[in-house]
Amino acid sequence: MDNLGYLFAAYTIIWALIFGYVFFLYYKQRKLRQQMDLLKDSKGEREGPD
């Protein structure tokens, strides 16, 4: 009774979910960086060049 299909399915799902979560964190980080840059730019514009 080897059931290799089940073993393959289990490990595939483990890595898919972990990579999915890592990708979610990466995507969130990129979005937050963009927001932070926008806020910094708008602050810079308001304060002027001096």
């Binding site: 009774m1 080897d2 059931n3 290799l4 089940y6 073993l7 399915a9 289990a10 490990y11 799902i13 483990i14 979910l17 972990i18 979560y21 890592v22 964190l25 969130k28 980080q29 937050l32 927001q35 932070m36 806020l39 602050k43």
Partner: protein, 226 residues
């Protein structure tokens, strides 16, 4: 991220990667195939560490929730929510891999056994914790509610852990403590537990960093003169 914390981060990620490669090597090449269950028993080496680290994650939520309620420092609330998030991911994997293993071993995907049901309740509890946090807008109210849920929710962790002793369950007993594993299986399990602990730390640190960044953005927006 300053220079030193970036270096620490890269060292941790490198260590996590090396440990995970070692864990996979041991699971698929080093450890002998189980005589009774065959290759499918190899699910055990990731299923058990995932469950233990999920318990650890919810224990961190519990401790940080108490610390938040006593000190009222948002730092603890941020760590608690990051740990709960990772705990939910790991518990989801415990339920999925457990179900796949059950199908191979018992011929069914699911049974309302005490251990399985208590684990499902644990998953629902912390999904509810994350949903409550998502829908409460005010920072201190969200942290307070989250802390109460984080403390109450932890009650289910010892129930899950002790279910195999308290009730007659279909789930296998604590093989590790009953001496049911040969040395190579024990070593493999240990390496997998260390690898998943490092992965847990990396994910919580990263998630905490993002939650702090989110809070900074909220503060800048709230204090901005329109």
């Amino acid at each position: 991220m300053n220079g030193r914390s970036a270096l620490r981060h890269y060292i941790l990620v490198g260590l996590g990667f090396a440990l995970m490669v070692a864990a996979l090597y041991m699971v698929f090449i080093y450890v002998p195939t189980d005589k009774n269950m065959g290759a499918v028993q190899r699910i055990f080496y990731f299923h058990v560490p995932l469950a233990w680290i999920a318990f650890l994650a919810f224990f961190v939520v519990f401790v940080c929730s108490i610390l938040y309620l006593t000190k009222r420092d948002m730092k603890w609330d941020v760590i608690a929510s990051a740990s709960a998030e990772v705990g939910v991911v790991f518990t989801s994997l415990v339920l999925i891999t457990g179900s796949i293993w059950a199908k191979a071993a018992w011929g069914i995907w699911w049974t309302w056994d005490a251990r399985l049901t208590a684990t499902l309740v644990l998953w629902f509890t912390y999904v509810a914790y994350l949903l409550v946090r998502h829908y409460v807008a005010e920072d201190s109210q969200r942290a307070r509610l989250g802390a109460v849920l984080g403390i109450v929710g932890f009650i289910d962790v010892p129930i899950v852990a002790l279910a195999i002793m308290l009730w007659r369950t279909q789930h296998p007993g604590a093989l590790i403590f009953e001496g049911g594993l040969v040395t190579s299986m024990l070593i493999t399990l240990l390496v997998c537990i260390i690898a998943f602990t490092v992965l847990y730390i990396i994910l919580v640190v990263q998630s905490t960093r993002l939650k702090n960044m989110e809070a900074d953005i909220r503060n800048i927006k709230n204090n901005r003169p329109d």
